[in-house]
Amino acid sequence: QQQVKQSPQSLIVQKGGISIINCAYENTAFDYFPWYQQFPGKGPALLIAIRPDVSEKKEGRFTISFNKSAKQFSLHIMDSQPGDSATYFCAGPSGTYKYIFGTGTRLKVLA
């Protein structure tokens, strides 16, 4: 099965700092790269996504950077806030109808 490898597994950042989470994929046919945010006891929610025709997308404090040649995409959270403390998942299409998810990164932002 095509893999999506996410790192780091956990991350602690000071308030106001930059959080960076990375994801590496194998399937070069991937055409959609989303990041999901999950709070405890809740379902994951789409945070931001990018298609491979652009190298970067920014929405507020959240930025996706995409490196097609390296088959990597990353999530940057600028000016991290305690409210950003959550688990983040990257994902990629696997086959025609499915998605596979990374193993998740547990982010804690210290006040």
Partner: protein, 114 residues
């Protein structure tokens, strides 16, 4: 706008008892539907997906089954629960057609098998 409803939110079931989790989607037609399981502090494991009524694909051999009796209804079932079935179950949907559409999750159902 589209919404997804999943219930019950929490349940505690004894080993060997049956299970039925239900999920419905509103505001869209012919969605792709998914059941995921998330063990505590772990990633998302795809259990079943469906691209149409009565069409179910299973990803992992296990004690569970899924059914899609109506276009926007997806049910996860078990005849006899095992302790290892405990976890957080998530229903999700995406637009019809191939992957590359955003997948949207429900609020999840916590299952504890005792």
């Amino acid at each position: 706008s589209q919404t997804i409803h999943q219930w019950p939110a929490t349940l505690v079931q004894p080993v060997g008892s049956p299970l039925s989790l239900e999920c419905t989607v509103e505001g869209t037609s012919n969605p792709n539907l998914y059941w995921y399981r998330q063990a505590a502090g772990r990633g998302l494991q795809l259990l079943f997906y469906s691209v149409g009524i009565g069409q179910i694909s299973s990803e992992v051999p296990q004690n569970l089954s899924a059914s899609r009796p109506q276009d926007r209804q997806f049910i996860l079932s078990s005849k006899k629960l095992l302790l290892s079935d405990s976890g957080f179950y998530l229903c999700a949907w995406s637009g019809p057609g191939h992957s590359g559409n955003t997948i949207y999750f429900g609020e999840g159902s916590w299952l504890t098998v005792v």
